[in-house]
Amino acid sequence: MNKKSILYRYSGYLFLAPYLLLFCVFLVAPLCYGLGLSFFEWEMISPFPPRFNGLENYQEALKDQYFWKALWATARFVIMIVPTVICGALLVATLINALPLKRQAIFRASFFFPTLISISVAGILWRWFFNTEFGLFNAVLANFSMKVPWLSDIRWAMKSIAFMTFWWTLGGPMVVLLAGLNQIPDHYYEAAAIDGANAVQRFIHITIPLLRPVLLFVSVMSIIGSFQVFGQTFMITRGGPEFSTRVLVQYIYETAFSFYRMGYGAAMSWLLFLVIAVFSIVQFRIMRER
């Protein structure tokens, strides 16, 4: 290799240069900056400069009852939404896949449609549905002389949020799973049918194993997404009643941008990252090994 050709090879990086610049400034740098920040006490509006305080932010979080409350609210949401959305998406995808290919598009589009609505629009809409006095749901329930405090009761609020989220987020995983189902060759099912396997047996012994990589992908994405829930609760309940729906991202948002405690906000971000990483890895392990 002569010098010119080495130069020529490296000059190819000019194609990557614009992207790598953005990547470094707005992805790698914030990652390092945020981690560093989490070891500092810094109130942005106070005249004092940032002060290194080691692990104090992390210790504070572990003692902060509002942190635990927010983590618990987030965990409740994740437990409610991840299994229901994944199972619901699998069910809908399986039903649609039973149709002839050319009839699938319209149903796929309909179930996917709500995911395209901005969360502020979806939030306003569902806030009206859920309204205790003049909401749509209670207007319908009034015919059976029932009245549900969808958003104002601690026992209902998070369930209502999860219900709305089910509608809003089912489409994404459903489309991915349907694409996975479309790829399974028909003759597998035909052969199993000849051997006398019924529909349920075919689903358990052919569909699930062949779909496992796709299922793993959508469940990990769903876990990562659900732990970061923010828009729904922010728009619909604002975290209430009694903080029962104030999730961790909202608490971080308020800590950093209402109280300007940047160090503490960053530390809680990293704690949430840790929680998400642990759950994603566990999910990987469980679904890979079997």
Partner: protein
């Protein structure tokens, strides 16, 4: 027996599909109701159709700068789309086709960031934008959006599938690497570029957290954040709020109806390629 089960299948799916689409349709219908009819619900369709809600949100640009929000949203979404299509296709071409030393290593580093939850960037990116003086300007929402790895990943995957013969022929004819990118790779990648472009545009149009955190003044807002403001200022006026929701949602519905196939394909690809 087969006909019966097939009929049940269609019935279940049609019912489910209607339940999923219905809430969105309801926004469009209810925006034409007078407030009284929204609060006292007795029928899905309005008894009397009214344009009053729309007239009112368009008539007071000082209080409700909805045209401004629309223009801001359009500007930001368009610029983000152009930025990502340009920068990501260049990078993807380099990673898919050029003989770069250490390319594998760079690519794995980029891909690794796909799994990092976005909330971790919130505080540090805010502070970086503050240092750059970009807070409360459209730049805060445009430039950082170009750092995401999804587009690079998607386009690289597509470029790898383009046969090399054409490029070899072009090289023999003396075409440079940049020429190959412009005259061979880009024209052949229109479907992938369209998918990524539509996807990016919709994502940026609907983004809520970014504008909420990075923008301050009401006339800099995008539609989703502007509409969220309604909830606090025009709390009791559902008619106005829903009319604003229609303005925010209609472009998305049109884009979806026109480019449905591209959007669905983009989603499918994310889960299937490795």
């Amino acid at each position: 027996m087969k006909i019966v089960s097939s009929m049940i299948l269609y019935l279940v799916l049609i019912l489910g599909a209607l339940l999923f689409v219905f809430p969105v349709v309801l926004i469009f219908i209810t925006a034409f109701k007078p407030d009284g009819e929204i609060v006292h619900f007795y029928s899905i369709l309005p008894k009397e159709w009214t344009f009053e809600n729309f007239r009112e949100i368009f008539a007071s640009p000082e209080e409700i700068p909805i045209f401004r929000w629309f223009a801001n949203s359009l500007l930001i979404s368009t610029m983000v789309t152009l930025l990502i299509l340009t920068v990501h296709s260049l990078a993807a071409y380099g990673l898919a086709r050029l003989d770069l030393p250490g390319k594998k290593w760079v690519f794995s580093m980029i891909i690794a960031t796909l799994m990092i939850p976005g909330q971790i960037f919130l505080v540090p990116v805010y502070l970086i934008l503050n240092k750059l003086g970009w807070l409360d300007t459209p730049l805060a929402l445009i430039i950082p959006a170009g750092a995401g790895a999804f587009g690079v990943f998607l386009l690289r995957q597509f470029f790898l599938g383009i046969p090399r013969d054409l490029e070899d022929a072009a090289n023999i004819d003396g075409c440079t690497r940049l020429g190959t990118y412009f005259h061979i790779i880009l024209p052949l990648s229109k479907p992938a570029l369209a998918t990524l472009g539509i996807f990016t545009f919709l994502g940026s149009w609907n983004d809520f957290m970014g504008p909420l955190v990075f923008l301050d003044s009401v006339d800099k807002y995008t539609l989703p954040v502007g509409i969220a403001l309604f909830q606090t200022s025009y709390y009791a006026e559902y008619g106005l709020t829903l009319a604003a929701c229609v303005v925010c949602t209609l472009p998305v519905v049109i884009v979806f109806l026109l480019f449905q196939r591209h959007i669905i394909k983009g989603i499918s690809l994310t889960g299937l390629k490795d």
